[in-house]
Amino acid sequence: MTKGKLLLLFIGAGLLTYPLLPLSSDYVLHVMTLAMVYMILAMGLNIVPGFCGLLDLGYVGFYGIGAYTAGLLTIHYGLPFWVIVPLAALNGALWGVLLGAPTLRLTGDYFAIVTFGFSELVVLFLTNEIWLTRGPLGLPGIQPITLNLSWLNKAWYFEFYEKTPNFYIAALMVALVYFIMCRMEDSRLGRAWYAIREDPLAAASCGVNILNYKVIAFAISAGIGAVGGCFYARWSMFLSPDMFKFWESFLVLCMVVLGGLGNIKGALLGAVILVCLGEILRESLTAIGLPAETRFIAYGLIMVLIMRFKPSGFFPAVASSGRSNPLLIDLQKRLAAGAAAKEKSRDSAA
């Protein structure tokens, strides 16, 4: 194991034990959990611009759909979190297919603007359909995440009002999404997406059905966004349409861009950096008398500068997870052995 990996492991373990420390503050825990929500979103969004090369400006629409799906199912039917997560993911993916199938055959610019329009429509719907969503008043009183193990032991029924269990659930979800991402990237699916991003015509002549694979990417991305929203709903226990405005899409996109388009680990780091930066800016801007929204000027600037000077982001996808695939490691060994054998035979011939 290399030094860098060891360090990463150490930091990771340190962060994970943080909530158990006696001095842990609720605020820090809250920010860390929020960062993890954005990690899920950034990884999900990354599929579309990062893997397929299409700009998605309406990611928050799916986040909102997931959140309200979770909120409403919890309030009206009292379904447990673990049932709601797949339902919300399916609902998100369904909308992804409905929106993507007719629009993904167009050039990327049109797709970008359609996604934007869609997310605005979602916000309008959430604001105006008061019978369903209570509109601008928001949706309060969503039950927190519960874990019902009473079938094992009568006392094992947990309601997670505390910050700490939510922190660990978020960590679990991030790990799960990360796992799915890495496996997708290094598979037939991921390679098809990369082919589309690199050269659509060449991808088609390799037998990749471009439209299908774009729709699949968009649907999976939407599903993951909905999962993020689902956790957010049960964690914050309150939803309002304001939480799902365009700004959120922009913020998540900025995270992906900062981390390097198509880089899964980069998306994680981008989320951490921008959530922290957001907290710092919020405090410092209000301190100097500016409205907190002006922090977006920094995000805008980050995006412009990165595209200009470091288009692959600060953490370019050098070591894509594919390289750690045993098949490739094996192949590398074989190639090295072959080269060595050749060298030998040349030497002996000489």
Binding site: T103, T107, I113
Partner: protein, 295 residues
């Protein structure tokens, strides 16, 4: 009632059309959705008000000054943000455009504050506020007539520039084939800058007219207006200047009718819905070329 809605819709539509031509022209020459165009529109209104209140310029002079300033902003925007990315992937330019849009919007927020301001009524010539025509329930103000006149004459001017001048020919050549145009001795970057300047000037006028019409201006005004104007450009067929005019008017009327007869809550929703429907069912728009991704 219907007639009144039509008049209001037409007023709005002409303003959308003024913004939409900016999108369409830029798209025509560099195939980029200039998301920051909505911010240029917003800046137009703020420049104009600043010239009136801080410098004390008369209304019409302030409009011209705001147009000039916005043209410069448009050119700067292109030189600073987009020009370095001409050869980069489309995605990079699009992300830059959206980044610039957010940047400019928040810059305005810092400079002018987040609260909406009224347009300085003192500066607006008095006759503009009077009713020009009243017929039963329907009324038409001089301001509306002024908007009609300005918008239509600017469109006509633009038409002349594009079709009758050397630079207009160069713009059209560029939208056909950039390399060939450069080989013919056209200064590509100059033509692109000119296009940005022209589009931005028209956007500025639209911003000023809107802020006078609704008597309000605020830093985020470019956001919805920009998207709606883009919708208008798509509706008319992106890349087509007459299309943008037609699209703007159709969208404005649809929005006014939608707000009047369907639900005023979904006023903005009408524009988005129309846009999505057009993109799905007729992506080339009313007057545009096909945009199906060939690859």
């Amino acid at each position: 009632m219907l007639e009144q809605q039509l008049i209001n819709g037409l007023t709005l539509g002409l303003i959308y059309a003024l913004i939409a031509v900016g999108y369409t022209m830029v798209y025509g020459v560099i195939q980029l959705i200039n998301f920051a165009h909505g911010e240029i529109y917003m800046l137009g209104a703020f420049f104009c008000v600043t010239f009136i209140t801080a410098v004390g310029l008369p209304f019409y002079v302030a409009i011209c000054m705001a147009m000039i300033c916005c043209s410069l902003c448009g050119i700067l925007l292109d030189i600073i943000a987009y020009r370095p990315l001409r050869k980069a992937p489309r995605l990079a330019a699009l992300i830059t455009a959206i980044g610039m849009s957010i940047f400019l919007q928040n810059l305005a927020l810092i400079i002018w504050g987040s609260r909406s301001k009224p347009f300085p009524q003192m500066a607006v010539p008095g006759y503009l506020k009077e009713k020009a025509l009243v017929m039963g329930d329907i009324s038409l103000t001089w301001l509306q007539l002024f908007i009609f006149a300005v918008a239509i004459s600017m469109m006509f001017g633009l038409f002349l520039i594009i079709n009758k001048t050397r630079i207009g020919t160069a713009m059209r050549a560029l939208s056909q084939n950039k390399t060939a145009a450069a080989l013919m001795g056209i200064n590509v970057n100059f033509v692109i800058s000119f296009t940005f300047a022209l589009g931005s000037a028209m956007g500025a006028v639209a911003g000023i007219l809107v802020s006078v019409y609704y008597n309000t201006l605020y830093p985020t005004m470019g956001y919805t207006a920009g998207v709606k104007a883009f919708a208008a450009a798509v509706l008319g067929g992106i890349g087509s200047v007459p299309g943008a005019m037609v699209g703007g008017i159709v969208l404005g009327v649809a929005e006014a009718l939608g707000a009047g007869y369907v639900s005023s809550l979904y006023r903005d929703g009408v524009a988005y819905a129309v846009m999505i429907a057009v993109i799905i069912f007729r992506p080339s728009g009313i007057l545009g070329r096909s945009v199906i991704d060939k690859a």
